[in-house]
């Protein structure tokens, strides 16, 4: 399944690049993305892809570090399972 998705991406990208440049495919210049996380929710499954590899969820990553005085991090409100968006009804995230 995953292989098929990857093949599809390459075909589309290659086709587009060839049309623009009328030359050799330039697939190698485009970022390769891999799905590094999936989360189930009531409407299905959301996936997160990264062009730089896996996600460092340790406090060594500033996104997950407590940078203020109350222990909150960026990741406290920008949930992976919501596509890093902030859900307006998340109680823990109200100002």
């Amino acid at each position: 399944m995953k292989l098929n998705a990857c093949v599809l991406v390459v075909i589309v990208v290659c086709s587009s690049a060839c049309e623009m440049q009328g030359d050799e495919p330039v697939v190698g210049e485009l970022a390769a993305a891999v799905i590094v996380d999936t989360s189930s929710h009531s409407n299905g499954v959301i996936g997160t892809a990264s062009t730089t590899g896996g996600i460092d969820r340790s406090a060594g990553n500033a996104f997950f570090a407590s940078l203020g005085s109350n222990g909150r991090t960026c990741g406290s409100c920008h949930f992976e399972r919501a596509g890093r968006c902030r859900r307006p009804t998340s109680r823990s995230c109200r100002p």
Binding site: M1, K2, N4, A5, C6, L8, V9, V12, V13, S16, L30, A31, A32, A33, V34, I35, T38, S39, H41, S42, N43, G44, V45, I46, G47, T48, A49, S50, T51, T52, I55, D56, N61, A62, F63, S66, L67, G68, S69, N70, R72, T73, C74, C77, R81, A82, G83, R84, C85, R87, P88, T89, C93, P95
Partner: protein
Amino acid sequence: MWDGRESILLDLEGDLARQANDATLGHAEATTGLPPEVAQAIVSFELPLFSAQTKVKIGTTLVDLTTAVPGGPDYLASAVEPAFYVGINDTFDPSFDREAFTLFAAWEPSAPQSGLTSLQKSIGRGEHIFNTRVFNITGVGGLNGPLDASQAPIPGTCTTCHNSPEVGNHSSPLPINIGVADASLNSAAQKNLSVRHLPIYSFRSKVTGQVVTVTDPGRALITGRFRDIGKLKGPILRGLAAREPLFHNGSATIAQAVNFYNARFAIGLSSQDKTDLGNFLKSL
């Protein structure tokens, strides 16, 4: 931010760094701002990430969105983002293509339908409706509203405002008032969204004396201008199903949002159309 307060420079990395800093000072209650290298580290973490639905669940059926069609976040990262630029597919440019979404073209009514499941067909019909159903866009502040230069109705589609290819936000800055924050009696928002619990603010124009009531001042909080009351940014639609309730105030399920738009713009969607649109939006 929905009111655009963090989108100032039209420099994505600079704006994201400021947002990280402001959130740290506000939400995380830091006493000093972030060192620039820490803000940059957060931006560098954010930029390579892309999120989208990989499977949609309708009832008890799970539909894969990455095998036969280019849904999912890897296609978004590999093909959609590299082609994006601010202002792409500008609605008011002669080259505007209303078919901003082609993810499910293989399931749209114009494609061979044999072998497709009923849900795949529904998602395809939803995409087709989103791209092509024409209705009159009227009274949208920032576009053709009563306080803007042009008050003429715009015959448009969902993609008139949701014009970024395969993503669905507006591809250039366009804070608009579609009426989500409208608190007036019998408004589409009051009738179709879960907004009865929200506070209501009344504003009177110093110039004309006009009074408006809203549940959120929107961009006027930033500009102080009467004509900006209720104006908000249009969000990216990818991953929408994972973050219900929708809109800036969390007032709608996907079904409620479809009903709101149908009422607000008198689109005339049938029950089947609404189901199809909802299934499409859940698949992004």
